[in-house]
């Protein structure tokens, strides 16, 4: 581990990134006025709250977002990972993005630093592949837990540097890590959980938000990963942001809770371990955006590693009425297997107007729902 930590030391990453090209402040797009105040606070008003989310008038109403579709390749040198993240960021910034969204499991590339990992049998089930090493007790969760110190220092160093040097907000995607805190829930208090967590970095470079995945894929449960039990909304000069992770967007409850807390832009990092099918892929953020009016930004991890195929199309979604073709899509990557950076402009004023006119929340039969939920779950 000490060797791995030295191989991935922050100084090395910082020095590497320092040699790269960055736009000067004068090159920034007109949206950059949104970013001058990097203050971020947890936001908790209800949707029916009449108050403006940005009482000091920081928000200009338009945000350019970039959804990144990145290839999962195991790296043997940490700088390969850093270079990939830099290139995606540079492309998104060149396209004028204020807010960048990286995919789920966005440090799985670093598994390649473990000796012998690429020799594992190509099994769609990572637990089975690990069992072939002779230790049937070893789970994928154990491997991610072991690698956590490395994952943390590489991920945080890389995205702090990129957010600061480019002067943009970056949601760096999620990483599977050991969380050395306690999770208390109805089953009791558990220590040192392995969780799938995403982080938001401000233009100052500071990590200003965290979200632990609250709904797991069955395969993640098999890996020994635990889910979080909270959903957060962060108030930024760009708007009220939330970033539930992948499967969280399968459940309408996630978006209802987040929108009720004030979320207007919901970022959804994904890594879908399945061959691509348009309709199956549609079952995430797109329908959630239609039933709970917010903007949705989905990033995707693609590629094939250890016999597991990942597919998906990064996209930016909006209520049907706010999209030029009436299809709920503002931008989407064309190929579910290739890398891409797609950008779109989000008009928050239009969203607020749509919410007011559609009256979706006002017409929700709360009395009916309260009669049945949450007891029915």
């Amino acid at each position: 581990m000490k060797y791995l930590l030295w191989q991935t030391r922050p100084a090395l990453i910082k020095a590497h990134l320092a040699k790269k090209l960055y736009p000067s402040p004068l090159d920034n797009n007109p949206h950059s006025e949104n970013k001058q105040n990097p203050g971020v606070t947890a936001h908790t008003p209800g949707l029916t709250d009449e108050s403006e989310p940005f009482p000091n008038g920081q928000n200009c109403g338009k945000v350019r977002v970039a959804a990144i579709q990145s290839r999962l390749t195991l790296v043997e040198n940490v700088l390969e990972y850093v270079d990939t993240m830099y290139l995606h960021t540079a492309e998104a910034v060149a396209k004028g993005a204020d807010l960048l969204v990286f995919p789920e499991d966005n440090a799985t590339q670093l598994l390649g630093l473990l000796p012998g990992i690429s020799n594992l049998p190509r099994e769609a089930n990572l637990n089975k592949a690990l069992a072939s090493l002779g230790d049937t007790q070893l789970s994928a969760g154990d491997v991610f837990s072991y690698l956590t110190p490395v994952t943390r220092q590489v991920y945080f160093t890389t995205f702090k540097e990129l957010a600061r040097r480019f002067g943009v907000y970056i949601m760096g995607g999620s990483i599977i890590i050991r969380q050395d805190g306690a999770i208390s829930n109805s089953q009791g208090t558990l220590q040192k959980q392995v969780v799938n967590a995403a982080y938001l970095f401000a233009p100052s470079g500071e990590p200003v938000g965290q979200q632990v995945k609250a709904h797991l894929l069955p395969v993640e449960a098999e890996w020994g990963i635990s889910c979080g039990c909270d959903l957060q909304v962060y108030s930024t000069p760009l708007g009220n942001l939330a970033f539930p992770v992948c499967m969280d967007a399968t459940y309408f409850e996630t978006f209802r809770i987040l929108a009720n807390r004030g979320a207007e832009i919901i970022l959804v990092p994904t890594a879908n371990p399945d061959r691509y099918n348009f309709w199956k892929a549609l079952r995430g953020a797109w329908p959630r955006v239609q039933e709970t009016p917010v903007y949705g930004v989905t990033s995707a991890l693609v590629g094939e590693v250890l016999g597991m195929e990942l597919t998906g199309r990064a996209g930016v979604f909006a209520p049907l009425e706010l999209t030029p073709n009436g299809d709920g899509v503002l931008a989407q990557a064309p190929d579910p297997h290739q890398e891409a950076v797609v950008v779109a402009d989000l008009d928050l004023k239009a969203l607020r107007q749509y919410r007011k006119e559609s009256q979706i929340w006002e017409r929700l039969n709360r009395k009916l729902v309260a009669k049945y939920l949450p007891e029915y779950y």
Partner: protein
């Protein structure tokens, strides 16, 4: 009966006399039964065909007629449809019916409440499930009440405040307050065809409705919809298609087409299932070719396959119940059940 055929009739309103309409319905039911259908559904509002002698000129005239007929409307409907279901030995969901649920008076105005209700008939001709629509959209209000000035004398909250300036609706010589009253309950019924639930109109776009029904055990949702033109297929995807996906149920959606009360309606009646158990993993078992013409849509469904996909991909096992118990109270305005639940510290 784990494997059977469902039929949807995509159809319009008031095309013919009641006698001719019943003759046409008998032909449709004969065909459905002879081709192995077990359950037949018609679109939103279609039941009004069976109780109104002719098409009313507008929503207010329709409501006034229903008000005048009183309880005979329901009785006519129940008698007619009970006989049809029994005659053909089919489960029958003959669209929905607007009903007067309450009339009251003050010194200055009358108050009339309506609900949109659907009734599912057994092959024995009995009503085995009754469901009132629980959410209304602005276009549904406009369809029935017309465009009304601010301070409008109608509401859908079920708790109508007294508006300051009551206007006279055409056809009424006395001020009235019209209420489209949302239903306050959701039910399912266990049948040999599986556990069935009904979704009416705008309820298709409120995920809470299908979620509650599926948590009550629904395996098949029967949806009656009517959307005014212009037609956008993505709106249907955002409705029952996606409710089916997130609840792992089957659904038959019957769409109203043609003209009704001065508006033109369009939709593609469809039979949906979870993507994994439909051809091409599209989530669609069968769909009308046209969004504007009458058509019959049918497909076989298998409750066994539904059970398999639910166990192979157990979405419900991953509900985050502690989160919902703590947070949904804020969304739906009730006290959270367990305030003591903590999270990452």
């Amino acid at each position: 009966m784990g494997d059977y055929k469902l039929c949807c009739f995509q159809t319009g309103m008031f095309g013919d006399s009641r006698e001719n309409l019943l003759a046409e319905v008998r032909k449709q039911l004969t065909r459905a039964r002879d081709e192995g259908g077990k359950l037949v559904i018609y679109p939103q509002f279609w039941a009004l065909n069976l109780v109104c002698p002719e098409e009313p000129a507008d929503g207010i005239k329709l409501l006034k007629y229903l008000q005048k007929q009183g309880k005979t409307v329901r009785q006519t409907f129940l008698d007619t449809c009970g006989k049809l279901a029994g005659e053909f030995g089919l489960y029958l969901l003959p669209g929905s019916l607007l009903e007067v649920t309450d009339i009251s008076s003050t010194e200055t105005y009358d108050s009339i409440r309506f609900q949109n209700r659907a009734f599912l008939f057994s092959p024995q001709g009995q009503v085995i499930l009754e469901q009132a629509q629980t959410h209304f959209s602005s276009w549904e209000e406009e369809l029935l009440f017309g465009s009304v000035a601010p301070g409008n004398p109608y509401c859908t909250s079920g708790e109508c405040p007294d508006p300051p300036n009551l206007s006279l609706h055409q056809g009424y010589t006395w001020p009235v307050k019209l209420c489209l009253e949302p239903g306050d309950s959701l039910q399912v019924v266990n049948t040999p065809l599986g556990v069935l639930g009904l979704v009416l109109g705008t309820d298709a776009w409120y995920p809470e409705v299908s979620r509650i029904l599926s948590l009550q055990g629904a395996q098949v949702l029967l949806a009656l919809t009517a959307r005014p033109q212009p037609y956008n297929p993505w709106r249907q995807v955002a409705g029952m298609w996606q409710q089916v996906q997130q609840n792992q149920v089957y659904c038959a959606e019957a769409c109203l087409v043609g003209n009704f009360l001065g508006k033109s309606f369009a939709g593609q009646s469809s039979l949906y299932g979870p993507c994994e158990i439909t051809p091409g993993e599209t989530g669609v078992l069968s769909q009308a070719e046209s969004a504007t013409e009458p058509e019959k849509v049918e497909a076989r469904i298998s409750l066994e396959m539904l059970g398999e996909i639910r166990s192979r991909y157990p979405l419900r096992e991953h509900f985050n119940i502690p989160l919902y118990r703590r947070e949904l109270g804020r969304v739906y305005s009730f006290e959270p059940e367990d305030k003591s639940i903590l999270c990452l510290e």
